[in-house]
Structures are given as structure tokens and as C-alpha cells.
């Protein structure tokens, strides 16, 4: 990705697809809760544009009509049309309506409607200075114990392999695989400084704060290969914390699990 | 030349002199400063699993003496101000000297407390309890030193103003008194928060 694109790439405003999900403005949205967010952003921008154009016309009109010129006297007593107060009340009501009927429900569902852990894929994402460690529970669905004393160059999350549950745990760096149309719960934690787990195409962002674990859920409704980004300054290589975010078909996801298990069994010989 | 009104006479509408209004504004910002530190103390205490009982780590009798010393110094400075109101500059100097002596006692006790802790290997890095203890009592101590400098100035060279402008000088002593009472007030809350709980 290092070739400099032309000043304005063709897909700047083209409709977003899995092949070219990015451009100027909102990227492709493949998450179920993303639609509400995009709708909110669009409504707000049309509302702001309307206000700006409305007041802009009034502004330019005044600049022309009331410019100082010979024979023109300021007239402080010129009565004002009563539009402003009606406008202000309307704006205030619209804002409250947006907050109560669209913003709060979308935010509420994003923060509170967690799926049941039994029928969702649960992963643990531990951020560290300049990489995302992804820890899958494996077939048994249970996470093995981790111990910070075991942390070293390769085992960066200190997974205790001889713990019963840890036998089948899969652990990847900068590589998050999720099956399409399946709810995922991610426990986000950090080892050193504050990072922020950000999936642009999923409209998901959650700070990884050391000392506490934040929970976030999402569900992808389209397959493809996208990016994990870090959205909080975390040191001099903050810009390099790019991860692969792959939404697989169920078969591809199984293939990924099998392949990882094979690598695991070879490593354990 | 510049003439700044209400330096010694209160403003007809607000009823306060410039200095008194100014010192209260400064104390308002100090309330916010110590407020932030107290809220840090609360969050550290509720967040930590093994917050030690104050009396086990700190010397309560010594601190009680300190509290009484500071309360007494609060009384002596208000009596110093009262004696100025009764035109007795001599008695003012006695009370102000007492205030300085008592605050010196407070600092000396604080010095022994700190060195005692350092010998036992208790440093700000030992635990968040000692970290917030040293930070808050240390910052309070710096405020005591600041107050002592001002009080010493008012007792010494500053009192030359008594002959030129007694009202303005009394106002200054009152403001130094207000600041000192505030420092005592902060200690009244620091003492139980660390030593008794």
C-alpha cells in the first residue's frame, strides 16, 4: 500500500464494496449495528447543512443589503421577522428528538444488548505496544489460564499450555478471523498503555485500558478482508499497529481452525 | 499617579475590600485543588483491595498533637487580628510570633514523621496509600511554609505599614488569617482521612 494514489482516486465517492471498502467519507459498513450509526451521522450532517445554508443565505443577504453606502442609514428599530425564535425552538426540539429516538437507542444496543456467550464466538484481544494478540478458546470453548510470569517473546499473552483448557486454545497476532453472520463478543484488555481497538468497517471502537477489561460485541453480515486499527496514541509506532480483520464464510472459518490446530499439534511434538 | 480605590475601605456596593475579595477567590481555587486530591484519595481507597488501617501505619498520637498545634495557631492568628482591631500592635506581634512558633512545631513533627517512615522503607513508591499520604500531606506542608513566610513578613518588615495605613495593614493580616484558617481546615479533613480511618 505504499504507492501514492492519484490526487483523487476513482473510488473516492464510488459505492463501497468488499473489494474497495474505503474512500473519502464513510467506509463500507458490514456490521449489523453500523446502519444505525451511519443513519445518525447522515441525518446530523443533512441537518447541519440545512442550518448552515439557511443562515448562510441570511448572512450573505445582510452583507449585501445592509452594506454601508452613501444615503444608507443604520436602522436599529427595523423589526425582526419572528422566524428566529421559532427556528431556535425547532432546532432544540429536533436535537432532543435525535438524542432520545436515534442516538440513545443505537448507543444503548451497542453497549448493552450483549448476546448470550453460549451462542456467540468469544475472543480475548490483548493490546500491547504495537500489536494485537487474539486469543480464541478453541473447540472446548473454554479459555486456558494465562499467567503474566510466562510472558516472553513468543508467548506474548502468557498462555499456560499445560493447563487442561489451554490445550486447544488458538493464539494469533494481528490476525482476527470471525465467521460471517455470527455474533462475536470481544474482551479487550491492554498489557501496557491505552490503545483503542478500532474496526472502521464494523463501526466498532473500544479503548483497551490496562487494569480493566472492556467488553464489546459485533456481528458481520458480509465477508471480506479488512483492517484492525489503533485509535489511541500508544507510542512511537502507534501508526504501525495494523491488524488483519478477516470475515470468513463458515467453511473458511473451519479451515482456519483446522489449520491452526494442525500447527498447534506439530508445535507440541 | 495611579490611585486604586477600595484598597483599605470596603466597596460601597459589594462591601468588601479588594484584598478580601481576592483572597476568597484564591481560596476558592484552593478548594478545587484539594477537592481533586480528596477525590483521588477516595477512588484509590475504594479501588484498592488492601488499604491499610490508618492507625497501623501512621502515628496517631503525634498527629493529634499536630492537629491541636494547628488549631491553636488558628486561634492565635485570629487573636492577632483582633488585637490590631483594638489598636494593640504589641499584642499583635506576640500572637503572630505564637502562630509562627506553632506552625514551626507542626513542621518539625511532620519532619520526624516523614523520616521515621523513610527509615521503615515506606516511600511514595511502596503503595498507593503512602503515595497519596505523602502527596497530600506534602502539598499541605508546602502551603504551611507559604503561610509562614507571609506571616513572618507581616510580623516583621510588613508591620511598618501599621503607622502609615493601619486599616490596610489590618486587612492584610485578616487575609493572611483567612488563608491560615483554610490551611487548618484542610488539615482538619486530612487528619481523620489518613490517621483515623
Amino acid at each position: 500500500m505504499t504507492e501514492t494514489t492519484s490526487w483523487m482516486p476513482a473510488d473516492a465517492f464510488a459505492p463501497r464494496t468488499a473489494e474497495s471498502p474505503y474512500g473519502w467519507g464513510l467506509p463500507l459498513n458490514i456490521s449489523t449495528h453500523g446502519a444505525g450509526i451511519d443513519q445518525l451521522i447522515n441525518i446530523l450532517h443533512w441537518f447541519c447543512l440545512a442550518l448552515f445554508v439557511g443562515w448562510g443565505l441570511y448572512f450573505l443577504y445582510c452583507l449585501v443589503r445592509f452594506r454601508a453606502r452613501p444615503g444608507h442609514q443604520p436602522n436599529p428599530m427595523l423589526n425582526h421577522f419572528k422566524l428566529p425564535t421559532f427556528l431556535e425552538v425547532g432546532v432544540a426540539i429536533f436535537e432532543v428528538a435525535i438524542l432520545v429516538f436515534l442516538a440513545a437507542p443505537v448507543w444503548g444496543s451497542y453497549k448493552n444488548d450483549f448476546p448470550d456467550e453460549k451462542d456467540a464466538l468469544v475472543v480475548r484481544i490483548t493490546a500491547e505496544q504495537f500489536a494485537w494478540n487474539v486469543h480464541y478458546p478453541g473447540r472446548d470453548g473454554k479459555f486456558g489460564k494465562t499467567d503474566i510470569n510466562l510472558i516472553d517473546g513468543t508467548n506474548t499473552i502468557g498462555l499456560d499450555r499445560n493447563d487442561a483448557d489451554a490445550k486447544d486454545d488458538i493464539f494469533t497476532i494481528n490476525n482476527l478471523h470471525i465467521p460471517v453472520n455470527k455474533k462475536v463478543i470481544a474482551y479487550i484488555h491492554s498489557k501496557d498503555v491505552i490503545h483503542s481497538f478500532f474496526l472502521p468497517v464494523m463501526r466498532v471502537k473500544q479503548d483497551a485500558v490496562p487494569g480493566m477489561t472492556n467488553k464489546v460485541w459485533f456481528e458481520a453480515n458480509q465477508t471480506g478482508s479488512f483492517e484492525i486499527a489503533c485509535a489511541q496514541l500508544c507510542g512511537n509506532s502507534h501508526f504501525r499497529m495494523r491488524g488483519q480483520f478477516l470475515v470468513d464464510t463458515p467453511e473458511a472459518y473451519q479451515a482456519f481452525l483446522v489449520e491452526e490446530e494442525k500447527a498447534l499439534s506439530e508445535a507440541s511434538q | 499617579m495611579i490611585v486604586i480605590p477600595y484598597v483599605d475601605k470596603p466597596h460601597p456596593l459589594t462591601g468588601v475590600t479588594n484584598a478580601k475579595f481576592g483572597i476568597w477567590l484564591f481560596l476558592a481555587s484552593e478548594v478545587m485543588l484539594f477537592g481533586a486530591l480528596f477525590s483521588t484519595l477516595i477512588i484509590l481507597r475504594t479501588g484498592s483491595a488492601n488499604w491499610p488501617l490508618g492507625s497501623t501505619e501512621l502515628n496517631v498520637p503525634l498527629a493529634t498533637i499536630n492537629t491541636i498545634a494547628l488549631i491553636t495557631s488558628s486561634v492565635t492568628i485570629v487573636l492577632a487580628w483582633a488585637s490590631l482591631k483594638m489598636q494593640q500592635i504589641g499584642r499583635f506581634r506576640v500572637y503572630m510570633a505564637l502562630t509562627l512558633l506553632l506552625s514551626a512545631v507542626f513542621l518539625v513533627i511532620k519532619y520526624f514523621e516523614y523520616t521515621h517512615k523513610f527509615e521503615h522503607g515506606h516511600f511514595p513508591s511502596t503503595s498507593t496509600f503512602f503515595a497519596i499520604y505523602f502527596t497530600m500531606t506534602g502539598l499541605h506542608g508546602i502551603h504551611i511554609i507559604g503561610g509562614m513566610i507571609v506571616n513572618a513578613y507581616l510580623m516583621g518588615p510588613g508591620s511598618a505599614m501599621w503607622k502609615k495605613n493601619p486599616e490596610q495593614f489590618t486587612g492584610r493580616v485578616e487575609c493572611a488569617g483567612l488563608y491560615w484558617h483554610f490551611v487548618d481546615l484542610v488539615w482538619i479533613f486530612l487528619f481523620p482521612s489518613f490517621y483515623l480511618l
Binding site: - | 459589594t14 478545587m32 477516595i42 488558628s74 486561634v75 487573636l79 483594638m86 482538619i188 483515623l196
Partner: protein
């Protein structure tokens, strides 16, 4: 001069009275701490005594019992923001 004396005399009695009260309350709060109340009760009692002592110092020593409106307005605004500042721990707990 006499009037000043008389007037101040009343004040000085008040200061000595408050001084005694503060000493007494200090002894009380230290005494209570040796009784080792339950955690919540100990905090409530200690803070109550500290607030009474602080109130005495503020009202009598700092003359807030009859101060001017402009000072009350400043302190009122500061009190509101102080409570907001002290509510930060509660925000962090229900994070």
C-alpha cells in the same frame, strides 16, 4: 476605643469558645477511632466531626457567619463544583 474593646471583647470570647470546642472535638474523634467502629460507621462519624470542626473554623474564625453576598456567591459556586469534583470517584466506580 472603649466601644472597640467592648465589641471585640465579645468576639474574643467567641474565639476562645470555638478553640475549646475544636480541642474537645479533636479528642472525641481520636477517642472514637480507638473504638474501631464498623468501616462505614467510622467514616460517617469521622467525617461528621470533621465537618462540624470545619464549619466552626469557617463560620467563626473566617467570619462566614456574617459575610457579604459577593463572597457567598463565589463560595456557593465553588461548593457546587466541589461536589461535582467529589462525584468523580462515583463515576469511576459505576464505570
Amino acid at each position: 476605643m472603649a466601644a472597640a474593646h467592648g465589641h471585640m471583647g465579645v468576639h474574643i470570647k467567641a474565639y476562645i469558645g470555638v478553640f475549646m470546642a475544636l480541642i474537645f472535638l479533636t479528642v472525641v474523634t481520636v477517642g472514637v477511632s480507638y473504638l474501631h467502629f464498623s468501616h462505614g460507621m467510622a467514616i460517617a462519624v469521622a467525617m461528621f466531626v470533621a465537618t462540624v470542626k470545619g464549619g466552626l473554623v469557617a463560620a467563626v474564625f473566617m467570619h462566614l457567619n456574617n459575610e457579604k453576598k459577593v463572597i457567598y456567591w463565589v463560595l456557593g459556586l465553588t461548593a457546587v463544583l466541589f461536589l461535582l469534583l467529589i462525584s468523580i470517584p462515583m463515576m469511576l466506580l459505576c464505570h
